[in-house]
Symmetry: none
Amino acid sequence: MNSSCAGPGRPRDPEVDSAILNAVGEMLTERGFEGLAMEQVAERAGVSKASVYRRFANRSELLEAACAEFAPALPETPDTGSTNEDLVELLVLMAEAMSEPSAGGPLPAILAAAGSHPEARDALRRFSDNRRKPMTEVIDRGRARGDVDPALDGELVADLLAGAVLFRSLVRGEEISEKRLRRYVEMLDLEPDSHSS
Amino acid sequence: MNSSCAGPGRPRDPEVDSAILNAVGEMLTERGFEGLAMEQVAERAGVSKASVYRRFANRSELLEAACAEFAPALPETPDTGSTNEDLVELLVLMAEAMSEPSAGGPLPAILAAAGSHPEARDALRRFSDNRRKPMTEVIDRGRARGDVDPALDGELVADLLAGAVLFRSLVRGEEISEKRLRRYVEMLDLEPDSHSS
Amino acid sequence: MNSSCAGPGRPRDPEVDSAILNAVGEMLTERGFEGLAMEQVAERAGVSKASVYRRFANRSELLEAACAEFAPALPETPDTGSTNEDLVELLVLMAEAMSEPSAGGPLPAILAAAGSHPEARDALRRFSDNRRKPMTEVIDRGRARGDVDPALDGELVADLLAGAVLFRSLVRGEEISEKRLRRYVEMLDLEPDSHSS
Amino acid sequence: MNSSCAGPGRPRDPEVDSAILNAVGEMLTERGFEGLAMEQVAERAGVSKASVYRRFANRSELLEAACAEFAPALPETPDTGSTNEDLVELLVLMAEAMSEPSAGGPLPAILAAAGSHPEARDALRRFSDNRRKPMTEVIDRGRARGDVDPALDGELVADLLAGAVLFRSLVRGEEISEKRLRRYVEMLDLEPDSHSS
DNA sequence: TATTAATCGAGACGGTACGTCAAGTCTTCTA
DNA sequence: TAGAAGACTTGACGTACCGTCTCGATTAATA
């Protein structure tokens, strides 16, 4: 709908699009969700305010687009041989992404926006889906190995683990040690024999 | 610290304090964190803008105070005889508080602000401490009954369970069924014998 | 210098300019310099506050502009045949302009501001230059007629006469009778023979 | 009414009175009429705002009091033997008082206020009366000496001379050279013989 | 090739909120 | 009581964004 119909008239400059989105990403990272000002986005992108508004009718839409853009690379599914250890590795990555701005990029800002902006929630959902996939793979592999109880619901596991990371990062604002992450995983008792020994 | 030292000068009118805080609470509930405008808070509280600024130097401080104020009564610790069932009940309450504004009061707004505002985070920490206490009690009681593994760390349990609720509410924006909450609890396998039967 | 260079961007609406200046003129006349409030000027002009501030960075600049605008038509140079009589006529006009607000327009307000605001002083200078010109013409004409001492310095005459009017109006706050004005003129003894008879 | 009736209760501290008036004088001198803020006067006087308001109901009254207080020493009547020269000396003093703030004290500020505040006008009237007296004396002495035309009206002379000084200082904002002052005086032709020689 | 229509920049416009400051009034404590 | 301190309402100050708009100047596809 945007790019396909060539129509008459001057076409939009794609550089402008990307300049805007870049600026949004930076500002979101640096100054958070509240610090996202259309006016400064335009200036920072070296673009006129009208050009921003031509694409995004308002702050929300801009945020929406930024969220849509926001798709951090799906992490390599780890394979250490141990289901628990694989999960810990995934959680470590997630915890890093949640930590202070400019480390984890705009994620905290988007999270902050989630309360009021459904698009932000969508972005987060996509993000969490991405994160969930390797988690599921890890569990499936464990199940194949016979490590993991076949009846186990991978989604519930993801809710609990991702939730714990989210909770401590967002609500309690703490860095999470790898040790703690490992204890979360062990609590779920995925590998019954591993500590019966 | 506030009221005891009379000092010279006219004392602050406590009605003004409460009028402001009430107004903040309402606005936060109705219009979210972004809709919290000093000017309108003042108007709504029937108070001059200067009186608001005398107490709270800026929006952040106002939010902070609102958060401090926001300490919903700690729920009755349930006692159904079953540890799992008690936990489910606590989670149901928590899930309700997280759902749509005006149901759960300003909590979602505060949560949204947590990303950018440490004070909001503090408020949440206090809130979560309050919630955590009955959870710990329930677990302790279970341990006393012999239901629960004595080695179990209650805090980790709370992280996982509260986190899962938070995660599904905030990130995925879903209402959470009681059934799902029960499955979270069961996953933790607190009462080993309960499903061995 | 203002209107010719179109430049990029939406051009300023000249109606806004004039609306503002009109409002300023009225308020200055009605409520004096101290009663000149940016906020009310904007409202009265039916214009946003930002539009006022875009043009005038602060009250002083607004005053300055109002002063610049303030250039009452240079009075007809009278020609009664008598130098003295011509001067008296000019002084009468000047005395009227100095009297109560809304009679003389913003002049008293500007005069009041002159002490603290150089721009007001500039406006007054321009104004007095305008007033001085007809005075000089009258004197020159008198000199041509042989009425007036050729050595006479017209500027000094203007200082003395205008000063006297100013003094009685501002410092003493009195209406000045035509008779008194005539006596001032006669004191200067411009037409030596006129009272030798 | 103020000082005489002792009445019941603690008497007013006269130091407070003078501290206030001093502060007013200084502020008027330094920051002009518009810069006269009750709040800062109080602070500067080391006095509570209420103590200021107890004495002066509002800014105008405070200004009024300051004006009342403002009574620069009546200058020594000069006596050089020459009427013209005496007048020049008086004008020099007056021109100095009119020049930049902190040189001439609060006079320029009061002058600025004269447009809107009758009390300021009163103060100026008193001031000009003070100035006028030596001028009249000088003229009378001249008349006694036979220097000056007996029919001359001293008041008119004062209007013209003081007015010229006022005019050039206030409206034109110029320092006035002694030479120019002398030319004003000579223009009035008080001593007909002095330049017939 | 000329037309045409949308783009781009710049920036004015009416709004709304921000956070500051002062004017006056009122209330309390201390001396 | 007076005096110091300071809370209170009111209202202007000057700043910063919002989202809309009007320009003049580019561009490319189309006629």
